[in-house]
């Protein structure tokens, strides 16, 4: 670093993240912990009012999550122009600009829209779809993530920029059931699934994997030792395989990707908020839809249909799962036209918990 050093400079480690305080807008710093209430000025525009009477305005815009440094620099420039350089990202990958001057809200919104970033995602809207990496980066993905998100949100963009649903609606996508990001408590979850057992690479297995670790990795005990063509390897009891991919995670010689049999499943009715009803898991709506890039029409149609049926039938404030619980699952399948199959009935651990254990029958 300019000066000749006899010993190498000390390596900096374990410093953690920068303290958030130096990134806070002065109005936020001053009113930290003193916010009194907030109101929504328009979809994507919030105003938080402090006990001191000071106000901070938030303008929320969509992002594809996968951002180039060029777009991040654009956000930085917009923050400088309209928000004194202060911005943040949300837990659903939206970008938020923090303004102290309400006169700057409209020009910022216009500039964001012109740059291709819709403003919205607040309250009874569909916010951004949280999602995983898919074919962009992941080895175990059963589908792409960013592509499906793009197609579904293209079809539902108006639901992001307006707040016209009965309640908020949260969609999430995971490209395999490892579920980086845990999509299992979403109003609508789009989940990539494998449907064929791993294709065991007997030639390399012994060399690249520890066989006892591999065998113990299987949650159903479907893997056992086998000698194949004189080579020490394993075999999979097919009827015990539920295609979770845990064996592939611990052993690269067990890939289970299969272009014609991998695809998507759709799950509905989960939530994490405690508002009204307790948090709940999403439940299976559609066990399989084909992988059909680049626009995945079957998945888009299925999600749009579910959103529309919910929007037309749920009462004000009812989340997807609360609506379905009120009207009953038979009604959900009837209204959406989705076929109920043997795959909808759980047969893993604790399966009985989702069986109908009363004579409260709906027709």
């Amino acid at each position: 670093m300019g000066t000749p050093a006899a010993t190498p400079p000390k390596r900096i480690t374990d410093i953690g993240p920068p303290h958030f305080e130096k990134f806070l807008h002065p109005v936020i710093k001053k009113n930290y912990g003193q916010w009194k209430f907030h109101e929504t000025l328009a979809p994507g525009v919030l105003c938080h009012v402090s006990e001191t009477g000071e106000r901070i305005y938030t303008v929320r815009a969509a992002s594809p999550r996968l951002l180039s440094i060029q777009t991040i620099r654009l956000f930085a420039d917009l923050a400088d122009k309209y928000a004194r350089g202060f911005l943040r990202f949300t837990s659903r990958n939206n970008v938020e600009f923090l303004l102290d001057d309400p006169a700057k809200i409209e020009p910022l919104k216009q500039e964001l829209r012109a740059a291709g970033f819709p403003v919205g995602g607040t309250n009874n809207a569909i916010s951004n779809i949280v999602h995983t990496q898919g074919w962009i980066h992941c080895h175990s993905s059963a589908t792409d993530a960013s592509g499906i998100v793009k197609c579904v949100m293209d079809a539902l963009c108006d639901q992001f920029t307006e707040e016209k649903l009965p309640a908020k609606l949260r969609i999430a996508l995971a490209c395999c059931l490892n579920m980086c990001g845990a999509v299992h408590c979403s109003d609508i979850a789009i989940l990539g699934i494998h449907r064929r057992p791993p294709k065991i690479q007997h030639d390399s297995l012994k060399r690249v994997c520890e066989i006892p670790t591999l065998i113990s990795s299987c949650p159903t005990g479907a893997i056992r030792t086998a000698t194949v063509d004189g080579k020490q390897s394993v075999e999979v009891i097919e009827e015990q395989c539920m295609f979770c991919g845990n064996c592939y995670t611990v052993c690269p010689a067990m890939p289970l990707s299969d272009p014609e049999n991998d695809g998507l499943s759709i799950w509905v009715g989960g939530k994490v908020s405690n508002a009204r009803s307790a948090p709940k898991f999403s439940k299976l709506a559609i066990p399989f839809l084909p992988n059909n890039p680049p626009r995945w029409p079957e998945v888009v149609d299925a999600v749009v249909n579910i959103v529309n049926v919910y929007a037309q039938n749920a009462k004000k404030f009812e989340r997807m799962g609360e609506w379905i619980e009120r009207v009953g699952w038979p009604k959900f399948f009837e209204l959406t036209g989705i076929e109920f199959t043997r795959y909808h009935i759980d047969d893993f651990k604790n399966a009985g918990l989702t069986f109908a254990r009363s004579a409260h029958i709906r027709f």
Binding site: D14, P17, H38, G116, H139, V183, N274, R276, P294
Partner: protein, 399 residues
Amino acid sequence: MAEEKGNGQGKTKMLDELEKGPWPSFVREIKKAATTSPVGADLLGLLEQSYEEKRTHWKHGGIVGVLGYGGGVIGRYSDMPEKFPNVAHFHTMRINHPSGWFYTSDALRTLCDIWERHGSGLTNMHGSTGDIIFLGTKTAELEPTFKELTEAGFDLGGSGSDMRTPSCCVGQARCEWACYDTMALCNDLTQNYQDELHRPGFPYKFKIKCSGCPNDCVASVARSDLSVIGTWKDDIQQDDAAVAEYAAAGLNVQKDVCDHCPTRCMDWDGKKLTINNRECVRCMHCINVMPKALRPGKEKGATLLIGAKAPILQGALLSSVLIPFVPAAELFDTIKELLSRIWDFWGEYGKNRERVGELIQRMGMPAFLDAIGLDPVPQMVSAPRDNPYIFFQAKEAKQ
């Protein structure tokens, strides 16, 4: 990373379809990044091939990282290194985000400049766990990137069997409902556990997420081993004049507020709202609907819950209540003490790749409570057990 242009340029017929439509396009982002790095073009080429063949072209991860750390970098190699040499290595770096994902424009530019010098120019803002994600670089660039990051005040996050970067909601920085300082707690935990974050020593991953109220904006109940969810112990703060204003403005207080209360603890006589706070379960519905009139109480803190996870391995779990209420001022110390006991037990009895929630399923919550020294309380269950197979302990028998 000045290298020759890759083979992907101009051959992305399927991906080009994803530049159409009103939603922001990740393909456009990759094309933007391709203006400053040869990685973008090859990534497009590789991805186009995945779209054509309906399968991933990434191989099982390799072990790469920075000196002295065991986590924070996800090794990734493509299965077509000759065809797309610029994405032959495509490692991801996870970087601890500032609590609440707040930035200044200058901080973002600093990150962008580092990533322009050393990587693809592609990021995720942010990854599912919350980290800043630098998407795609070569092994040789890891140390130089790390050096510049730490000099700029940033550090790596976790991966593998270690603690992952804690995350939190916006909290008291911009929300009137935050029942404790989520951002301070998240930052303090992240700083306090740098060693556990960077050097994998657990049976599997461990996640902490801090939500300021039961709306749980960071989904802690679904995806964190330790969920910290803000709550209050006393009465909802109520402004009767503001309630009347909502009613005058057209809100149907009976239908939209009282009728949705899960315990029906609210009465509206057309003029005054009466809340039986002893029957309130702190669900947030009424507060969400009337933010100007109702607010969480003044005796604030958080509920600690344990054990959420996605399906791998034995099925998905939601967190369940461990300590119903910890006062806000005691949260950090309580969590530190609790974590040391939990990690001791998990470290001793947890199997390889067994999350703490699954360990509790396997060994039983009562055994877990014994191990960490917590007394059972009724708030831990939705109902007492309904089966009579009780593991009575021999020490309670008459000798």
